[in-house]
């Protein structure tokens, strides 16, 4: 386009400064996680220090950290699988057999997302208490899968609609039933889209804090709840906190980076493709 070959250094410097500024808090946490506890709270801040892995050892040796991590994995995977199982048939039927009401159903699904969690905190808490679901992984999976369901349906719907109906019709001519058509034709064609949807759902469930803070205490608590327990200022274990936090966000950050381009559709409810 403009003056090809000319590198715009002043622009590069500005954007790099912005990018490093935005990333700085994460970077600072990463640095802290390799410091000793004393170096982590030193003023002036220690920029050059002898890196140590002792915080990571300390965190990983704590049995409870692993329990929280396991809960996070179970909850985000379980919720995602459940949401996909509900959403794939729904998105398939709406994408390929739209009726007059399809648009209304999609909008209504989106509207359930608008119900503020805090507005139903009391009944959910009481229901979960009476059903024995408080502080259980299953209870959290139920609620997380329902709350990501609209996003998952929307995102799958937008991917499915890009598959030409002719391909599915061809398989139907060959005598495939709808279930076969969905499993053997549509799903393989849409694997990248489904993977991106699953990643977004995993990210959202992994980072979900409201329900895990309010519905779990010890047994089913996830990493969000665990990290929140560091909020008291008395225990200055910043280095260990940093190590635990780094471990908690690293996999999700990588997932996010991997699927950022595709997840835009899910996040914008189809407004941006």
């Amino acid at each position: 386009m403009r003056r090809i070959g000319q590198v715009r250094w002043e622009l590069a410097i500005v954007v790099w400064a912005v990018a490093l500024g935005m990333f700085f808090p994460i970077l600072w946490m990463l640095l802290c996680s390799f410091k000793t506890e004393i170096a982590a709270v030193a003023t002036p801040p220690a920029l050059f220090f002898h890196p140590t892995l002792e915080n990571y050892h300390a965190v990983l040796e704590r049995a409870d950290y692993l329990a929280f991590a396991r809960n996070s994995v179970l909850v985000s995977l379980g919720s995602t699988l459940l949401a996909l199982a509900l959403a794939i048939p729904a998105a398939y039927s709406m994408a390929f057999f739209p009726t007059r009401r399809t648009r209304d159903i999609l909008l209504w699904m989106l509207s359930t997302r608008m119900l503020p969690a805090v507005g139903v905190l009391v009944p959910i808490y009481l229901l979960w208490r009476d059903l024995g679901l408080l502080d259980t992984v299953f209870g959290l999976i139920l609620i997380d899968s329902i709350s990501v369901l609209p996003i998952v349906v929307w995102m799958l719907f937008s991917f499915f609609r890009e598959v030409p109906a002719v391909i599915l019709e061809a398989s139907r001519m060959d005598g495939a039933t709808q279930i076969e058509e969905m499993v053997h034709v549509l799903l393989p064609l849409c694997t990248p889209g489904i993977a991106a949807t699953a990643l977004l759902s995993i990210i959202l469930c992994w980072n979900e804090a409201f329900w895990s803070l309010n519905l779990t205490t010890v047994k089913a608590a996830t990493l969000t709840t665990f990290t929140a327990s560091f909020s008291s200022p008395e225990g200055l274990f910043w280095a260990k906190l940093s190590a635990a936090s780094t471990l908690s966000i690293a996999p999700i950050l990588i997932f996010g980076w991997m699927s950022q381009r595709q997840m835009v559709r899910g996040l914008s409810f189809g407004a941006v493709k």
Binding site: V14, T102, L107, V122, L149, E169, R172, T227, G256
Partner: protein
Amino acid sequence: MTGEVASKPTRHLHRPLLAPSVGALFLWMAVPLAMTLWFSAEHYNLLSPGKTAFAGWENYRDLLTHRALWIAMGNTLFLVGLVLAITLIFGTLFSLLLNQDFPGRNVCRLLIIAPFFVMPTVSALIWKNMLMNPVFGLFAWITRSLGFGTIEFFSRMPMLSIVLIVGWEWTPFAVLILLPALHSLNPEQIEAARLDGGGPIALFRYIQLPHLLRPMAVVAMIEMIFFLSLFAEIYVATGGGPGLASTNLAYLIFRDALLGFDVGRASAGGVIAIILANIVCFFLMRVVGRNLEDLR
């Protein structure tokens, strides 16, 4: 299309495929909503179970005549408004920057969107402890070194501190949506504007900004949904304090319900939160609904 022929044998399968999702969401919406409405008209405290009584409007009157609700409403709107402005302005700016060609552009994009993927409790902790702590924090060291003394972020300006944290988390979201939108602009249109002698400001004002308005509206609405019930950051960073200074509606309801055990009052607060969200939702539906015009 071939609709008539092809969809005849499948029509009966349409409902069973859709029903689980619709049913689950319907249950999720109807049951708690009805319960919230019901409880909000009752005297119901978890500390004295079994002693419920009809309260009529009393919980609402209680809430509406109490200072706490209005402070929480004010804080909620302050937070929503300010963070929206911050994320939209910086999100647009960063997207415009990232839309240029320069070395390391992809890495910069990854670095800028990173905060969005950090779990809210961790974000709040990084800012609260490592950056804003008045004794050991990095900011305190910087301001002291420059001779300005220490800024007591969370005791002097708790709401602004929360705004800063949430703004940092959600500006990347605006970039995530606005950058691809900017990218989808027809390059010929930009080239034409340039040939007509339009500078970068005119280009932004007359071509890029109009193109971004709809995605911006989507960003604003989705963020509003999240900000109206923002919880984890406040829970971790300030606990709603000092006093009520950083208590928003979500935190107030949490306090009433799970710390105060007053189910009736918390439910009345919940109803107010739902009404607020519905006003927002009304506008979002109109914006998003336009994307489905072709289904009609």
